[in-house]
Assembly symmetry: C2
Homo-oligomer: 324 residues x 2
Amino acid sequence: MARIALDVMGTDRGPAEMVAGALMAVERGQEVVLVGRRDVVEPELLASGSDLELVHAPEVVEMGDSPAQALRDKPGSSVLTAARLVASGKADALVSAGSTGAAMAAASIVIGRLKGVLRPAIATSIPRPGSPSLLLDSGANLEVRPVHLLQFGIMGSLLAEIVYGMVRPRVALLNIGSEPAKGRDLERSAFRLLEEAPVNFVGNVEGGDITGDTADVFVTDGFTGNVALKTIEAAAGVVVRLVNTSFIDLPPDVSPHVAAPMGELHKVINPERYGGAHLVGTSAGVVICHGSSSRNAILNAIRLATEGVKGGLVERLERGLVGP
Amino acid sequence: MARIALDVMGTDRGPAEMVAGALMAVERGQEVVLVGRRDVVEPELLASGSDLELVHAPEVVEMGDSPAQALRDKPGSSVLTAARLVASGKADALVSAGSTGAAMAAASIVIGRLKGVLRPAIATSIPRPGSPSLLLDSGANLEVRPVHLLQFGIMGSLLAEIVYGMVRPRVALLNIGSEPAKGRDLERSAFRLLEEAPVNFVGNVEGGDITGDTADVFVTDGFTGNVALKTIEAAAGVVVRLVNTSFIDLPPDVSPHVAAPMGELHKVINPERYGGAHLVGTSAGVVICHGSSSRNAILNAIRLATEGVKGGLVERLERGLVGP
């Protein structure tokens, strides 16, 4: 089995939404242990008649807290407590929708990094027709060196193979043009490193390619990746809202015909489809979710973490990083 | 009148498409002088029966050329020749769809910068319901210092007032979260400078806000801006294609009802709507277009440049930068 430690505190929608997602996951056969303040979480469990295990954590890292300072000042925080459950083997993976910085720091300090990994990275699945693409880093490391981008490419390639069953996933460097000399010093150096790396490197691509089919794994620094990710989600959402608005005034006999294809569309581009993103490079599974995650997103994040554990994601990443 | 020097060389679709855009603009009362190789452009003019003025430029900067080297090695290039027409007062503004780097370099060297401007920036209009937002820099300066972002904010605010008639446009700093401490050292320092600046600074925003309504002018470095811009265009395009595909199998009596709202949607998010982007901070009007611009995009770019000249964009920017 795969036992998921779910940090239920410090999110935008509050612990009730997190508990609801956990209960949905448990109903579907997943194994979850909740981590949070007993006085807040227990009433939710009582109300739902569930006997789901709860590990009490008296403190909460808030979104506005400085991650490093919060971990120092709040040793009893839910995110640190959940990370400790994973580090001690009482759980197999951590899922958090609280402060991303705090979850990353807790993972790095308490769970630790795989041998040779300089910087764990957030690998976000971007929905597109067919299989998704992976964007990393999408927010963990705002400033990086070329060797970090090299490692993101190697880890992303392994992740695409393991999680999505891709064969020789195409790895691309996010840039402002396709020529090798394009970009900042960072991209020019990373280009040369990726050319020599044991991945199927297809060269530089532009922002528009992330939602296209020219590559499967998109490598960039965490600042650019975070902006690109949020931009994609919002731009897709704007168009969907415009389409919906345009169709409000359709005659009643026409609307049903439009509803079905629109439903399909929502399924393809639904940002909750994957629920969360793997933090790759840590010694155990860590899945990071949006602060505003709904119960459905949390359900999918727990599923993502469970599949990672069952598929031996961390062990296979470790072997892949060492090389054959 | 506003006389536009159009560099017709070095684009993806070739000079014929550029000439076609120019002819459409002239038909609509704009004044254009073409700049390019006579042997290539003259047959196009003859075929169309037009007597549009052509200034011969024997050399062409190609997309793959290093901009700095190309300008040194090709003094007779179309982009330099067009910039010289503007610098000498024989034309009022430059429009180019060739190498962005070469157009910027030609503008900086030949046309020059407004007093006090450290780095001209590309200000791209992002379509959204209602008035567009402005993103700058969207590709001119890949690496910047905080003072550059400050100037982008001031120039962007003036541009929004002058071109879109906005009152106290809301200026935001593109970042990975809203708190002042978020981001790289670059954003943290720029935040403090923008707080003190004579603009309506509304703080940090995320990538998703560019297509929303929390601000009007979005300030970032040229690398991030370029990735964000191309990401938005592509993500919107993907959704539109998905919608179109979903609607292929609608019954014939339903399709006409869907066609009208889809047509409206295309109009709102059409990336050719503005055709090009102002390079702000130069001593005369410069409009930069996509290398793949269609004749419609070129028509709109010429219109954008013409409106800039007639509205006194450069003079008003100059006054605004000096302060009251």
